[in-house]
């Protein structure tokens, strides 16, 4: 018990817990065939939250260790410029339809989520946290901070959105008769960010590349669009 009292107050323990849990969750996900319902991030969150509740550890203590991982989201967001640059030639060739689809998709995602939640009487903090839900967490956390939502709630909702997108996309593609790999990948990137992109790679390399492209474009566009959309929707 003395060990626990000593180490549970140290950042090192929580850093190790985060990484170990994620590795185990990734292994588990591969074992069950990569289903988006058991996404490594969702599984890690659940396990770590359970562990913290069982040991009576406050989130603040956990975050003292986990913040070293959290910090890397900033440079990782900047790093999205690299895959964007890699696909620049592709973007230039089909700039107009991609831009249109990205903008319409991003506005639909934010506006419809806010409208539905508003109709069901969700609180203002919930509405502001739900708005950036289709954007990669790295950017969504920043947006929620800026808007006055809860960054941690926003990032949780982003992850759940990612799983929902991976589940909904295949049947919708069948109904709408979408067969093109690029369209499949780009649509997954717009609606389900990084989790959609990872899923798009299962359709093929081109789908994955377009997913990454869509994720970057939607993230950047939403960061600039939401601060304008929120007052329009009188929040």
């Amino acid at each position: 018990m003395a060990f626990w009292t000593f180490f549970s107050a140290k950042p090192l323990l929580w850093l190790i817990v985060t990484i170990v849990t994620f590795i185990v969750a990734s292994w588990l996900n591969r074992r069950v065939g990569g289903t988006p319902l058991l996404h490594p991030v969702l599984v890690s969150l659940t396990l770590i939250i359970l562990f913290l509740l069982l040991t009576g550890t406050p989130y603040e203590t956990y975050f003292e260790g986990a913040q070293f991982i959290h910090f890397l989201l900033g440079p990782a967001t900047v790093a999205l410029a690299v895959p964007l640059f890699d696909h620049l030639e592709r973007v230039k060739k089909m700039l107009l339809p991609l831009l249109l689809a990205c903008m319409a998709g991003a506005v639909t995602a934010a506006a419809s989520a806010i409208l539905v939640a508003q109709a069901l009487d969700a609180s203002l903090e919930t509405l502001l946290s739900i708005a950036p839900k289709s954007v990669t967490s790295a950017i969504a956390i920043g947006i929620a901070e800026k808007l006055g939502g809860y960054p941690s709630l926003a990032s949780g909702l982003v992850l759940i959105t990612g799983a929902i997108g991976c589940v909904l996309a295949p049947p919708i593609y069948r109904i709408l008769n979408v067969t093109d790999e690029a369209v499949k990948g780009f649509t997954l990137g717009v609606s389900a960010h990084g989790m959609g992109t990872a899923y798009a790679f299962e359709y093929g390399l081109m789908a994955g590349a377009f997913g990454g492209l869509a994720m970057g474009m939607t993230g950047a566009f939403t960061a600039f669009m939401l601060p304008l959309l929120i007052p329009v929707m009188s929040l």
Partner: protein
């Protein structure tokens, strides 16, 4: 690798500075990303020292979401009150987003494919 990581941090820093100076409602790293993209376009290629840390970070992007996501535990009361609204909002809007995006892109898909082959 180290130089590349420093480049990422410096662009993030520049992004944060611009956001602060102009009081922009956008996260600093997003501005940093746009700045880096512009610089890469001007330079015409990605330096190897930058590619290494960038791809390493993006490869493990999913892990980086975990610490903030665990913060969901501090919102149990909000989640309890709004869970139905949240769940319906996420499902409806994600479905709509997929439909809207696919419908806009699908007609030009043929053209996209032709351009891809060139």
């Amino acid at each position: 690798m180290l130089v590349g990581f420093l480049i990422l941090l410096l662009f993030q820093f520049a992004g944060e500075l611009i956001v602060m100076a102009l009081a922009m409602p956008v996260p600093g790293p997003v501005v940093g990303m746009v700045l880096l993209l512009v610089c890469l376009i001007i330079k015409g290629e990605v330096p190897e020292s930058l590619r290494l840390p960038s791809e390493a970070l993006l490869k493990h992007l999913a892990l980086l979401f975990v610490p903030a996501g665990v913060g969901l535990m501090t919102h149990f009361s909000l989640l309890q009150a709004d869970w139905l609204a949240i769940l319906l909002a996420l499902i409806v809007s994600t479905g709509l987003t997929i439909i809207v995006t696919a419908l806009i892109l699908n007609p030009s898909a043929k053209k996209l494919h032709q351009l891809e082959k060139e």
